[in-house]
């Protein structure tokens, strides 16, 4: 998996450390950080939770990062790729850096398995 400082693993680790140990040094003041898991949350409402779709909209979990990034950025072109109904209107709401973070996020999730979600344990790589 490619290293990316916006990759949610870093945030997840931050959550864990934050809740496990009292950190000696206080974090320095800074502007609000991009968090790919926050960006991705709204995509779940159409593409399914974690990008695993239960319906007619395409699944995006576990797809190659480059493919997702290329497709996402292409939605911003005018006119958008043939067959686009809505992603042009959505993709234009994000910077290219946001779209790359989203591509990394969804490519890092395992594609849907047949087993019900609750029974999938230790599903990460």
């Amino acid at each position: 998996m490619k290293t990316n400082r916006n990759f949610p693993a870093a945030r997840a680790l931050g959550v864990l450390i934050g809740s496990i140990a009292t950190l000696a040094c206080a974090p320095a003041a800074h502007a609000q950080q991009r968090d790919a898991s926050v960006l991705a949350g709204a995509c779940f409402n159409c593409h399914g939770t974690d990008g695993r779709s239960p319906g007619s909209i395409v699944s995006i979990a576990g797809r190659p990062e480059l493919e997702l990034a290329t497709k996402l950025k292409a939605f911003k072109s005018e006119p958008p790729p043939a067959g686009t109904t809505i992603m042009n209107r959505i993709a234009r709401g994000y910077s290219d850096a946001d779209l790359e973070a989203l591509a990394a996020y969804f490519s890092g999730i395992k594609a849907a398995s047949a087993a019900p979600r609750a029974k999938v344990k230790g599903d990460g790589k």
Binding site: L16, S19, I20, N45, G48, P54, I86, K110, D123
Partner: protein
């Protein structure tokens, strides 16, 4: 456990977290520090907040208070009127939220004690919280429209909250004689689901066209313009010519009095309209508990901070969904879900002593005009200088010139959206 978690381990945890099934090591120290969150309301905003709080930090103690054992969504009730879905298909239970480790309490929250940070439920017990989330949806301003109160709604249903009212309106529609007029009174902004009345008119038209072709629909509107208006009107002209008449404010469309017994309404300039079925969408305000808890302002809605949806009036309380004044975001289930996810991330960060991440919100409202004819409006929003703003150049409505295939695809995607968002929110398969 050591703080020096290896990268591999962290990634493993991430994978687990992403599947929502991460078994955390038991850490009593961390557990004590993780915090307690109470969520009022198990609709789109509340159920999403509860799920995503747990997902982001399984150690947080999450209690969800919602009187209904089965939540019926307003989205897609219009398809029920169109004869395309059963009422039961609208229902979602709370079993999956329980499986996720959330304490679900099926009662009404009756009081919020701001000073000692606790919520009381109808049967008496209190639930203490470190952070409170409220997503109580809307309540009606009974009496704001002369003649329209709870008793009147038994004769002239609103069906603007899903449940008995939905069933009542459906029965009335089915019992309506061919040749009758279906009259809808539509309020001024803001109200729950801006395109909802016009989607309802479309679905009722679909039903009437097939079952009662001599009937008519009269829309009496307190506004001069509405969401996706050109798209709706193009489609009505094409699919339902002469069936739907829309009367805007400027043409005396504003209903000022309802006579529910006689199924008659009167407009601003004294015109009377008799209905065979009368559907009144009443003026609205934030859910009552928000008002009782000192969260609303003079507008009747809850002002919130743009980046976290924390109340501007009561620190430590986050309010999401229809109850908020989140303009330019509309009051939709999609928005409620999107706001709840941002609020959950902010709460988890704040309980861990970190700064909230940068927010992004999205809305999409699909409207179905006929079984193969869907349209949509979308928007992407963020916080800038403390205000909610639509990201410039993003969003917008479906193109006015589009092929039949395009409309058909959007009808299909609308159904895909419903499956995805209900599974994301309640964990149910529909």
């Amino acid at each position: 456990m050591s703080v020096k978690l290896s990268r591999r381990r962290a990634l493993g945890m991430l994978g687990g977290a992403a599947s929502g099934a991460l078994a955390f090591p038991s850490l009593s120290f961390a557990e004590r520090r993780a915090g307690r969150v109470v969520v009022i309301g198990g609709g789109f905003g509340g159920a999403t907040a509860a799920r995503y709080l747990k997902r982001r930090n399984p150690l947080i103690d999450v209690t969800l208070i919602e009187p209904a054992k089965r939540f019926y969504t307003c989205p897609f009730t219009n398809l029920h009127f169109g004869g395309l879905r059963s009422f039961e298909q609208q229902g979602h239970d709370f079993a999956d939220l329980r499986r996720a480790g959330i304490r679900v309490v099926h009662e009404l929250a009756t009081e919020v004690d701001l000073a000692s940070r606790r919520v009381r439920i109808a049967s008496g017990p209190w639930f203490a919280y470190d952070r409170l989330v409220a997503s109580p949806g809307i309540d009606f301003r009974w009496g704001a429209l002369a003649g329209y109160d709870e008793a009147a709604a038994q004769l002239a249903p609103h069906a603007w909250k899903a449940g008995a009212q939905t069933k009542l309106l459906k029965q009335q529609l089915e019992a309506m004689p061919d040749g009758g007029v279906f009259v809808m009174s539509i309020p001024g902004n803001p109200y729950r689901c801006p395109p909802g009345p016009y989607e309802r008119a479309s679905m009722v038209a679909h039903y009437l066209k097939t079952h009662k072709p001599k009937s008519k629909i009269l829309l009496l509107d307190a506004k001069d313009a509405f969401s996706k208006q050109p798209l709706f009107q193009d489609a009505w002209a094409k699919l339902y010519p002469g069936l739907i008449e829309w009367v805007p404010l400027a043409k005396d469309g504003k209903v000022t009095r309802v006579d529910a017994k006689n199924l008659e309404v009167e407009t601003e300039f004294g015109q009377k309209h008799k209905a065979a079925v009368l559907n009144v969408v009443p003026p609205q305000k934030a859910g009552l508990i928000a008002e009782l808890s000192g969260l609303t302002d003079a507008s009747g809605w809850v002002p919130v901070k743009a980046d976290t949806f924390e109340s501007t009036q009561q620190p430590g309380i986050h309010v999401v969904g229809d109850a908020t004044n989140a303009a330019p975001m509309p009051k939709s289930g999609f928005c409620a879900n999107s706001q709840a996810k941002v609020a959950a991330a902010a709460i988890v960060a704040s309980l861990a002593g970190r700064e909230a991440p940068k927010p992004t919100y999205v809305n999409t409202c699909y409207s179905l005009i006929a079984p193969d004819y869907g349209i949509s409006v979308a928007g992407v929003y963020t916080a800038a200088d403390g205000k909610l703003v639509e990201v410039p150049n993003s969003g917008g409505v479906s193109p006015r010139q589009a092929s039949d295939d395009f409309r058909k695809l959007e009808a299909r995607y609308g159904e895909g959206w419903y499956r995805a968002i209900t599974q994301d929110t309640w964990g149910t398969r529909s």
